[in-house]
């Protein structure tokens, strides 16, 4: 299925959850936060939150800033 991850269109396997998306992308468990279609998906719900075609996902972290 197609989804937009961090602004880029991506072809993803069907049936992913937020957890398995992060695994699929090789994101190491750590300090990332995920937003799905404008709403934060809390860490505790990463395993159950399923993705749907056309989802817009943001995966963010802290970087240096002022």
């Amino acid at each position: 299925m197609q989804a937009i991850v961090n602004g880029e269109a991506m072809e993803l396997p069907e049936g992913l959850t937020v957890s398995t998306l992060l695994e699929h992308l090789g994101v190491r468990a750590g300090r990332v936060a995920v937003e799905r279609n404008g709403e934060v998906v809390r860490q505790a719900r990463h395993r159950e939150q399923k993705l749907a075609p056309g989802d817009r996902l943001e995966i963010v972290t802290f970087v240096g800033g002022g």
Partner: protein, 260 residues
């Protein structure tokens, strides 16, 4: 003890520093330590999915420093609110984190869009955030942000990264006169004397990034700013003499030899 109480935290340092634009993490870490700061700003950005082997920023920030996530780069209230919600999710510091709210108007001046800032502040306060808003040096805007429930107000001294220092001390004085929450000068500091000047006027704290990270020797500049911030605070508490147009002798006028 002279402490800065801010959003449930107590700080003995009144200098808050940024973590942006350092040439490398070891230099940043050394500068953070030299600054004596107890709170540091961080930004929220998309994870680079191609470069995940890179060492994480948080690894280089001393563990006892409070993180202050910012909304830098946001140009409207909605994006700023989303960024704060993501920061809260990233943050292990609890449900009522401090956030530095920054909603910009245009990329050239980086001046704040106060209308959008106030809108975002109201929303974030209603969601339990402790909001520290970057604003311009306008007492009216500062009052509106205070009334919105912000934990502090952070007027600029000059545009972000400009190093122009405190451009409008009289507006800052008005803001200080009317504001009950801490006033922190955010943006514009260029060198140590700017820190001292702001602190002497009675501001509660300073937020500095570029003037440290962009100095030839960031670690030395961090220490200079720490000392200047402390010196300015002490001078403020000590109470300066009034300015007078004419001289006033400091030695006794009586007993000068050769007098008639």
């Amino acid at each position: 003890m002279d402490e800065l109480v801010l959003g449930g935290h107590r700080f003995t340092s009144r200098l808050v520093v940024g973590t942006g634009k350092y040439k490398d993490f070891p230099t940043m870490q050394a500068a953070l330590q030299a600054s004596g700061a107890q709170m540091v700003t961080v930004a929220v950005r998309r994870l680079d999915l191609e470069a995940q082997g890179e060492s994480s920023l948080l690894h280089w920030i001393p563990k006892d420093m409070v993180l202050l996530p910012n909304t830098a780069g946001c140009y409207n209230a909605a994006d700023a609110v989303r960024t704060c919600r993501l920061a809260r999710e990233l943050h292990l510091g609890g449900e009522n984190p401090l956030v530095k709210l920054e909603v910009l108007s245009d990329p050239k001046t980086l001046l704040p869009d106060v209308e959008e800032t106030i809108k975002a502040a109201k929303q974030l306060v209603s969601e339990g955030f402790r909001v520290l808003p970057y604003t311009n040096d306008d007492p009216v805007a500062a009052k509106k942000l205070e009334d919105a429930g912000c934990a502090a107000v952070m007027p600029l001294g000059a545009p972000i990264g400009s190093g122009l220092g405190l451009r409008n001390p009289y507006s800052l004085q008005m803001i200080l006169d009317q504001t009950k929450v801490p006033v922190i000068v955010d943006a514009g500091v260029g060198t140590a004397s700017d820190c001292a000047l702001c602190m002497e006027l009675g501001v509660s704290g300073l937020l500095v990034n570029t003037a440290i990270s962009g100095a030839n020797d960031p670690v030395a500049m961090a220490r200079a700013m720490r000392l200047a911030t402390e010196a300015g605070r002490l001078a403020y508490l000590a109470g300066r003499i009034p300015r007078k147009l004419y001289g006033s002798a400091s030695s006794p006028l009586a007993g000068v030899i050769g007098a008639a």
